[in-house]
């Protein structure tokens, strides 16, 4: 499989009064063409920042650096803002977290789809009109509603409309930042189905940013787990969710109910992610990790690659054993 997006040691820091905040620290992963990659982690672990850095939309206080950010073989970090703007939306599209408010309240939804088509895609007004109807049909909204304003749409419809806008110019990669977080589970399912179906039909790649493991399990081919600005584990969804090799991923999968499997006690991970202006030395998860050893607290963990299933943990080799312990409530309770 060819990597459509290849992120190599990408770092993003924000200038703050207290000093630099390292929101993303040397994150590396790839997005193969035609796949759905889930980017998971707790709030504030750098998922959204990473997605924005790929889009190239950052506040002035942000500093992006890294070895390479290859998209279709082109290093985006080396492009000028003008060249990046040209790529935006035609090749790389974005589905925002707050589709509720991502639509401009003073224009009709149809006009907003047409705006992207005309301004960015070079469509004529009439062609844009036809394409907008086609897009609405794709995401399952009646075309008569193109003439309505965003406030007349329900949350799920607005989210589907923003998917329609993202797909308008047939991009190769869509970054979806928590696209279903604000929706109830039934609508979540509908929106994810639309996204999955279109992804398969159009052969595009999707990076799905979420904090919801069940969304990853339902929609993703591959998973990238982030913690405190670093990628801690990545691999195929099945591998990572069934046989996690990093204690944080073990904790995450424990903290969500399993509808298909037997009922089990949900085990929370005690504590909070560290502040990113002064991160702890060594493994950043060590202060919350029940399996942490001396070396975890002082030395950066090694990257263990087992046939594409990458874990950044000193004890990745012992994962088999740790998984059994991690499934017990007592293991994590001792940390609290």
């Amino acid at each position: 499989m060819d990597a459509l997006l290849d992120i190599r040691a990408l770092s993003v820091s924000y200038r703050a009064r207290s000093g630099a905040v390292h929101a993303v620290d040397r994150a590396s992963f790839t997005v193969p063409a035609g796949s759905v990659v889930g980017l998971v982690g707790e709030s504030g672990c750098g998922k959204t920042t990473l997605a924005r850095a790929v889009m190239g939309v950052m506040p002035a206080s942000a500093q992006v650096s890294g070895d390479a950010l290859l998209f279709q073989g082109v290093d985006l970090l080396k492009l000028s803002p003008r060249e990046r703007r040209r790529l935006a939306w035609t090749k790389l599209a974005f589905i925002p977290q707050t589709a509720m408010s991502a639509l401009d309240p003073v224009y009709r939804v149809g006009a907003q789809i047409a705006e992207v088509l005309v301004e960015r895609g070079g469509f004529s007004r009439t062609a844009a009109r036809a394409r907008a109807e086609e897009l609405f049909a794709m995401v399952g909204i009646d075309r008569a509603r193109l003439a309505e304003y965003p406030h007349q749409f329900s949350g799920g419809m607005r989210q589907r409309a923003s998917i329609a806008i993202a797909l308008a110019l047939e991009p190769a990669l869509v970054l979806a930042d928590e696209p279903v977080t604000a929706l109830d589970v039934i609508v979540q399912r509908q929106v994810l189905d639309v996204l999955k179906d279109l992804q398969a039909r159009l052969g595009l790649s999707v990076v799905l940013v979420t904090h919801d493991i069940s969304v990853v399990a339902y929609a993703c081919d591959r998973v990238v787990v982030m913690y405190a600005g670093r990628v801690v584990e990545s691999g195929t969804a099945e591998e990572v969710l069934e046989r996690p090799r990093h204690p944080y991923t073990m904790g995450l999968t424990n903290a969500f109910p399993d509808l298909a499997g037997a009922a089990h006690t949900l085990v929370p991970i005690a504590g909070h992610p560290p502040a990113l202006d002064y991160p702890p030395p060594g493994c950043r998860f060590a202060p919350r990790c029940p399996f942490a050893q001396e070396r975890c607290r002082t030395l950066d963990p090694s990257t263990e690659d087992a046939a594409g299933h990458v874990a950044v943990c000193w004890r990745a080799e012992e994962a088999e054993l740790l998984r059994i312990q991690a499934a017990r409530v007592e293991t994590w309770a001792a940390m609290g």
Binding site: R85, A88, W89, Q97, L103, R108, E115, Y149
Partner: protein, 300 residues
């Protein structure tokens, strides 16, 4: 400015847009009253030549060659004549022209300068914002009437001076309010969404942010119309107006200096005063109605 024109044309080209604007203008009593006053004012200003019964500057003579001064209301002179023997009704009608010209041009410049500086200042922030806002603070500190008087004394008193003074002195109010609204709008997700799509900065400002502050621009525009007419009236009343142009303020000054008040010649000083009050009020009435027309969400 092409983008702003586009944004406006988008609003205008919506199906049933004009009908909805008309419906809204008539559904709100205040807006309707304001619109009617403006309509009458503009029509009178356009057809002033036809409506006026006499040449407003001509000194009229009665029988036996005497100046027809201080005549009461009659069919011949609808509002009587002045101390100088001129027809008051004709002066009132011609005075609407300077009111419309000064009011609209001054309001146009106030809105243009205030909106542009407010948008730029609010959107870019940083040192641009600091410069514009400190400059606005300085201008706000200038006393209004003394500034107009000094300006009139230094240059040729007249319409251009008044419009210039109003535009220079009133933009900070508009710019400040619009800037504060832009500060909020620029953080909205739809602005960020536009940025992600690769939208240019100019397009974000004029197509996505400007419509959100247009109602404010209109409100401050209609207030500026009133202010401009008041300023002109004040300056003319104090004798700093253009002596060759007939205006309502100039009429009041003429009436005042001819002791029309002590003689109880209400037919001379009440009509221009009333006209000024009505036009200023109409501006405020209309600004109330604009908001709904421009904010789709307020309609339902």
């Amino acid at each position: 400015m092409a983008a702003t024109a586009e944004a406006l044309s988008v609003i205008a080209s919506r199906p049933g847009g004009l009908r909805r604007v008309l419906r809204l203008a008539t559904s709100d009593g205040f807006a309707l009253a304001g619109t009617l006053i403006y309509l009458v004012l503009i029509l009178v200003a356009i057809f002033a030549d036809q409506i006026a019964t006499h040449d407003p500057t001509q000194i009229l003579f009665g029988a036996r060659g005497r100046i027809a001064r201080n005549l009461p209301i009659s069919f011949d002179h609808l509002l009587g004549t002045t101390h100088g023997g001129r027809d008051i009704f004709s002066q009132l009608v011609m005075g609407s022209r300077s009111a419309v010209t000064i009011g609209l041009t001054a309001a146009f410049f106030v809105v243009l300068i205030g909106t542009l500086l407010g948008l730029v200042s609010g959107y870019f922030g940083g040192w641009i914002d600091a410069i514009v806002m400190r400059f606005a603070d300085i201008v706000l500190g200038l006393p209004f009437l003394p500034f107009v008087i000094v300006l009139s004394a230094l240059s040729r008193p007249g319409t251009v001076t008044i419009v210039f003074a109003v535009a220079v002195l009133l933009w900070p109010n508009t710019a400040r309010v619009i800037r504060s609204q832009v500060l909020s709008l620029r953080e909205r997700s739809y602005v960020e969404a536009a940025r992600v799509t690769g939208c240019s900065t100019a397009r974000i400002i004029f197509v996505h942010i400007a419509p959100g502050i247009l109602p404010l621009s209109f409100t401050y525009g209609s207030i500026a119309v009133g202010w401009a007419i008041l300023t002109e009236a004040s300056a003319s009343f104090l004798g700093f107006g253009d002596p060759r142009v007939i205006s309502w303020g100039g009429m009041l000054q003429d009436a005042f200096s001819s002791q029309a008040l002590s003689r109880g010649a209400w037919n001379w000083f009440v009509p221009p005063g009333l006209c000024i009050v009505l036009v200023v009020l109409a501006g405020f009435f209309i600004s109330r109605g604009y908001e709904e027309i421009l904010f789709p969400k307020l309609r339902d």
